[in-house]
């Protein structure tokens, strides 16, 4: 117990110190974790002992990563992106693996090891690439799409690799695999083959069926209880349960988690799940990177700096060339191909997993693995530098060719134009109008009964409390054009507007206000425009009342329009006084008097009989009468 606490202290302390520093230096969090690991590792300070124990735990971070990737993958999107995933991605993995294998072979490695090295290094870093592309605003365009497709296939390719790599063992033939690498421990290994196969199918079927028919009702049940932490617990429970089931039947837990994610991708809880699990992913992946860093054999690497440099440069150049060629073959323009190739030129986090796995399976030697681990880490660190280099070159290319067509592409990747928070009486009407006019919206609501009702009408609504920033982010607030706040709570509306304004300065924020006071509060907190929720409908009812009282329809309509205009004007005039109670009340009394006067003037102008039904004033009638009399006399 004491040992556990000390270890936790060391790991957390290292992360807390090094990650912010690395971020400040522009190196990214992954590198921060790696460096922290190196520092506390047995080859530097030697603060941690049983790195392998922590590794097992940390690898759960990869499982969660794949679950989250699965959540992003709706089956319909898989089909839409089939070319990018299976074409581009498949070609990248095969091409890069073969090229690196060939290079390794030329350097004198046995073919089995060379092939293993190729496969391991073909992986790129999902975490780093997606983050880099997001920072550059390239995630949504064709470049981001292509990169995401390749990364997705790589993540999928890890699964067969766990099966294939042990076959390349050069040492003891038939080195036992432990089914997936993450922990191992298949309970069905002793069963006959047909029973094993059956159990695999049963497990996969169970994950799909359970995801569809058990998990959704479970979440609905929990959501009704409105207990945030139980929702988080349930989300974790699902990931752990799926991973365990997969392990029992001897499949990769990561594959299971991915599958579970895909099954839940269509559910209304997707966004909430994402936001709830995200912190665990970050922490566990961080832990994972630390353990990788701790595993770096520092004296070995330090004794061969040139070799390391050679591997890093060779790796990045080779990956760049292969990816560039493939992207061009698939019809990407030069610039797009360059961007994708640069982004994907590093080694990935799965390389770490696979390397430790191959060492265990006797495919790659300990020394080579240590060197490669260091090389992958360095290449990851160089990714931001490479991207800056790419931008410089691209700028030069732009200067050389004046008429470069910018990456526009269709941005239709499920990203919303509008986020609607709160889909009750108010949000629905606004949402329907926007949708009917071709705008895509993501809807968040925290009333599960309302969501169920809407789903019966075939509407897609996500469960979640929109005042949470992470949830807004998951809903795509960074890229959406507008946020419409129609949450059924006065305080929450103000809170949401305030948070969103701070976090997403470019977002247009429209909010539903209770009354004039609430409207002023919202505007003061950063809403771009507000609408008092009852104002328009009350005016409409007022107009109907006028009509029922004998006004002609157009007259009633005009009276309402007139009132609206004056009220809006007063609203704007009093706005500067908001917050100064005395001045506001005084000015508001004044305004009410002016309003009465103006309304009275209009009433007078519109008095029936005065203008004989024409728009013109009574003076015309008088003049015409006079003229007629003169003519009669003359």
């Amino acid at each position: 117990m004491e040992n556990f606490l000390t270890q936790t202290l060391v790991y957390l302390g290292a992360a807390v110190v090094s990650v912010p520093i690395a971020k400040r230096l522009g190196l990214g969090s992954v590198l921060g974790y790696l460096i922290a690991g190196v520092v506390i590792g047995p080859f530097a300070l030697g603060l941690v002992g049983e790195q392998a124990d922590v590794m097992k735990f940390a690898e759960f971070g990869v499982v969660i990563l794949l679950f989250l990737i699965g959540l992003e993958v709706q089956p319909s999107m898989l089909w839409d992106m089939r070319k990018a995933i299976f074409g581009l991605g498949g070609a990248q993995v095969l091409g890069t693996a073969l090229a690196i294998a060939a290079a390794s072979l030329a350097l004198g490695l046995p073919w089995q090891t060379a092939l293993a090295v190729g496969l391991v290094l073909a992986m790129s870093s999902t975490a780093i690439v997606l983050q880099t592309l997001d920072e550059k605003g390239l995630r949504q365009g064709p470049v981001g799409r292509a990169a995401f497709g390749v990364l997705l296939l790589q993540d999928l390719a890890v699964i067969p690799m766990f099966a294939l790599l042990p076959l390349l063992a050069t040492g003891a033939a038939g080195h036992a695999t432990d089914g997936g690498g993450h922990g191992g421990g298949s309970l069905v290994a002793h069963l006959p083959i047909w029973a094993q196969t059956l159990s695999v199918f049963a497990a996969v079927g169970g994950v799909i069926g359970g995801g569809r028919y058990l998990v959704q009702p479970l979440f609905r049940f929990i959501a009704k209880a409105r207990l945030r932490e139980i929702f988080v617990a349930a989300a974790l429970l699902i990931v752990v349960a799926v991973a365990s089931v997969m392990q029992i039947v001897g499949l990769s837990p990561a594959l299971g988690a991915f599958l579970a994610g895909v099954v839940l991708a269509e559910s209304e809880f997707r966004r909430e799940l994402e936001s709830d699990i995200e912190p665990f992913r970050g922490l566990l992946l961080g832990l994972f990177f630390i353990t990788v860093g701790a595993g770096v054999n520092l004296p070995l690497v330090a004794s061969r700096p040139l070799q390391l440099l050679g591997i890093v440069v060779g790796l990045m150049v080779l990956k760049f060339i292969v990816m560039y060629g493939i992207a061009r073959l698939f019809g990407a323009p030069k610039r797009g191909a360059m961007a994708v190739a640069t982004a994907l030129a590093q080694g990935g986090e799965f390389a770490f997993v696979l390397l430790s796995f191959t060492v265990g399976a006797g495919v790659i030697g300990v020394q080579l693995a240590a060197l490669l681990t260091a090389a992958v880490a360095v290449s990851m660190a160089l990714t931001p530098v490479a991207m800056i280099l790419y931008e410089r070159v691209a700028a030069l290319m732009d200067a050389a060719i004046p008429d470069v067509v910018p990456d526009t592409g269709d941005f239709d990747e499920g990203e919303p134009d509008i986020i609607i928070a709160g889909f009750g009486r108010f949000g629905q009407i606004t949402g329907r109008l926007l949708q009917a006019n071709g705008f895509k919206s993501t809807v968040l609501d925290s009333d599960i009964e309302q969501i169920e009702l809407l789903q019966r009408f075939g509407r897609r609504v996500h469960y979640g409390d929109a005042t949470r920033l992470d949830l807004l982010r998951a809903a795509g607030a960074e890229r959406a054009r507008m946020l419409i706040v129609a949450v059924d709570d006065r305080e929450k509306t103000v809170e949401l507007v305030e948070t969103a304004r701070k976090a997403f300065p470019n977002l247009v924020i429209l909010a539903r206000a209770w009354d004039r006071r609430h409207a002023y509060d919202l505007l003061a907190n950063g809403a771009d425009a507000v609408e008092r929720e009852t104002f328009e409908s009350a005016l409409a009812l007022g107009a109907t009342a006028l009509q029922k009282l004998g006004f002609r329809a157009h007259r009633a309509h005009r009276a309402a329009a007139f009132f609206r205009r004056h009220d809006r004007r007063v609203f704007e005039e009093l706005r500067p006084m908001w917050g100064q109670e005395e001045a506001y009340i005084l000015a508001s009394r004044d305004a009410a008097k002016t309003m009465d006067r103006l309304l009275d003037a209009d009433l007078h102008r519109m008095r029936p009989g005065d203008a004989g039904g024409a728009w013109d004033t009574a003076s015309l009638d008088e003049e015409l009468r006079e003229r007629a009399e003169q003519e009669g006399a003359g």
């Binding site: 005009r558 329009a561 007139f562 609206r564 205009r565 004007r569 002016t594 728009w615 013109d616 004033t617 003076s619 015309l620 003049e623």
Partner: protein, 198 residues
């Protein structure tokens, strides 16, 4: 510009009040090009009626104040059924009232210029005694010409773009330049410099 709520004050007049009425400006090529060319001129106050009054509830006081504040009233619109679009007619009906624009005591617009800029879908040939529309553009614009006369305004030669929807981009650009020059020529030179000082 004048504050609408202050009603009838008579500020120093200056420049051109360019009033545009097009219910679907986003689909119009000609009127958008023309408006864009002219509204940037200094001394031009631009009003897009369908943008300001989507509900047709024209603010009479504000509009009358704007009319008072300018020397030249320019009306720009596509010809709809040989007349202005509905909102421009509504605007005229509501704002150009007896006692303000004409009749006894109605001298607010006296001496100002009325300039009409109008686009048509059909070609110039159609607006002819022997053409498809049987009358000339001058004849179709008679109601507006008489409006100017009744209000004691000077009637400027209208600016007409025929075949607006079939003209290519280059031709439209040339029309827009021509329009800009024409509007600029209407700006009273001294008034413009006056405005620049304030």
């Amino acid at each position: 510009m004048t504050d609408a709520s202050t009603g009838f004050v008579a500020p120093a007049t200056s420049g051109v009040l360019l009033v545009l009425a097009h219910p679907a400006l986003e689909r119009s090529r000609a009127n958008r090009a023309l408006a864009k060319a002219a509204k940037g001129l200094s001394g031009v106050t631009f009003k897009d009626l369908y943008e300001i009054y989507p509900d047709f509830a024209v603010d009479i006081e504000a509009e009358q104040a704007a009319l008072l504040a300018h020397d030249v009233i320019a009306l720009q619109f596509p010809l709809y059924w040989y007349s202005t679009p509905a909102l421009m007619k509504e605007w005229l009906d509501l704002v150009w009232l007896h006692g303000f624009a004409y009749g006894e005591g109605g001298e607010a617009l006296k001496g100002k210029k009325l300039f009409v800029a109008c686009s048509t879908g059909a070609s110039a040939k159609a607006y002819h005694m022997h053409g498809y529309n049987r009358f000339s553009m001058d004849e179709f614009l008679r109601p507006l010409e008489q409006t100017a006369h009744l209000c004691g305004m000077e009637w400027e030669t209208p600016f007409v773009v025929h075949g607006a929807s079939v003209k290519d981009d280059a031709a439209l650009k040339a029309e827009a330049e021509r329009y800009k020059a024409r509007v600029a020529s209407l700006l009273p030179a001294s008034r413009v410099s006056n405005k620049a000082e304030t």
